[in-house]
C-alpha cells in the first residue's frame, strides 16, 4: 500500500520539522506549507489524506478560514483536518476537546501545542484509519 500523505500547514518551521520527523519515522509521506496559499497549490498537485493545520499564520485566524474553505470544497471536504495550535489559551476560546463543532469549527480533531509524539501519532492513525 502506498504511504499515506499528510500535509502540515504551519508557519513555524521548527514545529513543522519536528512533526515531519515523527511522522516520516512512522512511514507517512509528509509535505508542508507555511500558509494557506502555499497549501492550496500543494494540494492541487497532490491531494493529501490528512491535513494538520495551525491557526495563526499570516492572519490571526487563517487556519479557521482555511478549514471552513476546505469543508465547503467539493473535492477536499472529506479530507480529515487535525487542528494543532496554541491559540486556545491566547484567546480563551472554548473549543470542544473532541472537536467538530460542525457549524463553527468543522475539524475532525483538535490538539493543543505542544503535542507529545505518541499523542500525535495516535490521533493521526485514528483519523486516517477512520477514513479507510
Amino acid at each position: 500500500m502506498a504511504a499515506q500523505r499528510i500535509l502540515i500547514v504551519d508557519d513555524d518551521s521548527d514545529i513543522t520539522y519536528a512533526m515531519q520527523m515523527i511522522l516520516e519515522g512512522h512511514g507517512y509521506q509528509v509535505d508542508s506549507a507555511v500558509n494557506s496559499a502555499t497549501a492550496r497549490s500543494k494540494m492541487e498537485q497532490e491531494k493529501p489524506d490528512l491535513i494538520i493545520l495551525d491557526v495563526m499564520m499570516d492572519t490571526m485566524h487563517e487556519g479557521f478560514d482555511f478549514d471552513r474553505e476546505l469543508k465547503h470544497h467539493p473535492e477536499y471536504k472529506d479530507i480529515p483536518v487535525l487542528m494543532l495550535t496554541a491559540v486556545k489559551e491566547r484567546f480563551g476560546l472554548d473549543f470542544k476537546p473532541e472537536a467538530g463543532d460542525q457549524e463553527w469549527l468543522p475539524v475532525e480533531e483538535f490538539l493543543d501545542k505542544p503535542v507529545k509524539p505518541a499523542v500525535l501519532l495516535e490521533k493521526v492513525e485514528k483519523l486516517l484509519g477512520n477514513k479507510r
Binding site: D11, D14, Y17, A18, M21
Partner: protein, 445 residues
C-alpha cells in the same frame, strides 16, 4: 464639600489678576482721556488720572509681592496667595467705588463692572468669601448712592451724558440698587455652583489618574514576575541544550543535531525576548536610569562597530556625519548606545541588499538631533502611529522577519523619553524611513 484650587492654579490665577489690572489701569486712563475730550466738561479728571497711576503702582507692588511669595514660600503658599487674592479683590472694589464716585455715581454705567469682581472671587475663593465680597460690593455701592442722594458728599456728574440729577431720583436709585444687589448675589450663586462642580470633577480626574498609575504599576509588577519566571525555565532549558549542542554529553547524529540546534535557537530567541521585556518593564516601573556625562560621538562609534558586520553581510553601506562640536550628553551611555544600535540594526534589517543606512547628528540650541535614514521597505502610512507600541509589528516588517520581538522601538522610545528627548519617524512605504530622536545637550555650569 468645599474644594480649593491647587497651588499651581492659584498662583497662575493670582498673576492673571495682576495682568487684568494692568489692562484696567490703562483703560481707566485712556477712557478718562477720551471722555474728557468728548464731553470736555468734567472737573474730576485729575483724581481719575491719579487713581489710574496709583493703580499701576499698587499693581507693581502686588506683582513683586507675588513673585516673592512664589519664590520663598512653599507649604504656606496656598494660604498666602489666598490672602493676597482677597486683598486684591477688596482693594479693587474700593477703587472701583472711588472711580465711580468721581465719574457720575449712579449715572455711570460702569458700575456694572462690580460684576466682574464678583465673578473673579467666585472663581478663586471659597463660597463664603465670594458672598462676603458681593456683600462688600453691595455695601460700597449702596453707601455711595446713599451719601450722594442725601448730599452728604457732593455729586460729581459727567455733564452732557445723562440727566445729572438722576442721583436725586429716589425710585431710580432704589430700583437700580435692588436690581444691582440681586444681580450680584445671583452671579455668585451661579458662578460658584459651576466652578465648584468643575473643581470636583477635576479632583475626580486626579484621583482617577492616581488609580490608573497604581493599576499600571501592578500590571508592570505582574509582567515582571511572569517574565522572570518563564525566563528562568527557558534558561534551564537552554543550559541543557547547550550541553547537547556542544557534544559534551556525547556525539549526536545529524538529525539529533538539527533538532537540538532548532530548539537551542528558539530558546535563545525566547530568552532574548524576555530579557528585553524585563528591561523595558523594569525601566517603566522604577523610572530611573543611572546618569553620567558622556560623549555622544563615542556612543555612535561603538554602535557602528557593533553593526558593521551585519551591514557588510547584506552589502549595505553605512555611514555617519556628525555636525556638532561639543557632544556631551548627560544620561546613560549604555542605553543610548543600545538605542543607536537598535535603530541601526532595524535600518539594516529592513533594507534590501545594496541599500544604504546613514546617521547624522545636528543640533539646535538645546538638543542634539540624531537621524538614521535608510533606503528600506518603509512603514505603511496607517501603521506609523503604532510602531512604537510594544509588540506591534508592521505588516511588511513581519514579512521580512517573522519572529521579531516587537519591543525594539518601544524600548528605544522609553530610553529617549527618560533622557528628556522625543523620538519620531518619517517614512514612505517602499522608499525608506528616517528615525529621529533628540537628546538634551549637557550645559556645563
Amino acid at each position: 464639600m468645599e474644594t480649593v484650587l491647587d497651588n499651581e492654579q492659584f498662583v497662575k490665577r493670582a498673576f492673571w489678576l495682576v495682568k487684568l489690572r494692568w489692562i484696567t489701569a490703562c483703560l481707566l486712563i485712556g477712557i478718562t482721556y477720551v471722555i474728557t475730550q468728548y464731553f470736555n466738561s468734567t472737573p474730576q479728571e485729575i483724581p481719575l488720572y491719579v487713581i489710574g497711576v496709583l493703580l499701576l503702582l499698587y499693581n507693581s507692588l502686588l506683582y513683586l509681592a507675588l513673585r516673592h511669595l512664589v519664590r520663598f514660600h512653599d507649604r504656606t503658599l496656598n494660604r498666602a496667595i489666598n490672602r493676597i487674592v482677597i486683598l486684591q479683590i477688596t482693594t479693587d472694589l474700593l477703587i472701583l467705588t472711588v472711580v465711580i464716585y468721581y465719574s457720575g455715581g449712579v449715572e455711570n454705567p460702569f458700575f456694572f463692572y462690580y460684576i466682574f469682581h464678583v465673578i473673579i472671587s467666585s472663581m478663586l475663593l471659597s463660597r463664603l468669601m465670594s458672598y462676603l465680597q458681593a456683600t462688600l460690593a453691595v455695601f460700597l455701592f449702596g453707601l455711595l448712592l446713599t451719601l450722594e442722594h442725601f448730599e452728604i458728599i457732593s455729586h460729581r456728574p459727567i455733564v452732557g451724558f445723562l440727566d445729572i440729577n438722576l442721583f436725586q431720583n429716589t425710585y431710580y436709585v432704589l430700583g437700580m440698587f435692588i436690581v444691582f444687589s440681586t444681580t450680584l448675589y445671583l452671579v455668585v450663586y451661579i458662578t460658584t455652583s459651576i466652578v465648584f462642580q468643575l473643581r470636583k470633577q477635576q479632583i475626580g480626574y486626579k484621583l482617577l489618574n492616581l488609580e490608573l498609575s497604581k493599576k499600571d504599576r501592578i500590571k508592570n509588577e505582574y509582567l515582571l514576575t511572569v517574565s522572570h519566571d518563564i525566563k528562568s525555565h527557558m534558561a534551564a532549558i537552554k543550559s541543557c541544550l547547550d550541553i547537547l549542542s556542544t557534544h559534551m554529553a556525547g556525539p549526536l547524529n545529524k538529525k539529533q543535531s538539527e533538532l537540538v540546534e532548532r530548539a537551542d535557537h528558539r530558546a535563545f530567541k525566547s530568552i532574548a525576548f524576555l530579557s528585553t521585556l524585563l528591561k523595558l518593564t523594569q525601566m517603566r516601573l522604577t523610572g530611573k536610569i543611572e546618569k553620567e556625562c558622556f560623549s555622544l560621538k563615542q556612543c555612535i562609534y561603538n554602535a557602528f562597530s557593533a553593526v558593521e558586520q551585519k551591514a557588510e553581510c547584506k552589502a549595505i553601506s553605512v555611514s555617519y556625519e556628525i555636525y556638532v562640536k561639543k557632544d556631551t550628553v548627560f544620561g546613560s551611555p549604555l542605553l543610548i548606545e543600545e538605542t543607536l544600535r537598535n535603530l541601526l540594526l532595524n535600518a539594516i534589517k529592513y533594507t534590501p541588499e545594496n541599500g544604504t543606512a546613514s546617521l547624522s547628528v545636528t543640533e539646535d540650541n538645546t538638543f542634539f538631533i540624531i537621524q538614521i535614514t535608510d533606503t528600506g521597505i518603509g512603514i505603511p502610512d496607517d501603521e506609523k502611529d503604532n510602531i512604537f507600541d510594544e509588540f506591534y509589528r508592521a505588516r511588511n516588517a513581519r514579512k521580512v522577519e517573522k519572529d521579531g520581538t516587537g519591543l525594539g522601538l518601544s524600548i528605544s522610545k522609553e530610553v529617549v523619553q527618560r533622557h528628556g528627548g522625543t523620538i519620531w519617524v518619517s517614512s514612505h512605504e517602499g522608499a525608506g524611513s528616517t528615525f529621529s530622536f533628540t537628546l538634551p545637550k549637557y550645559k556645563d555650569a
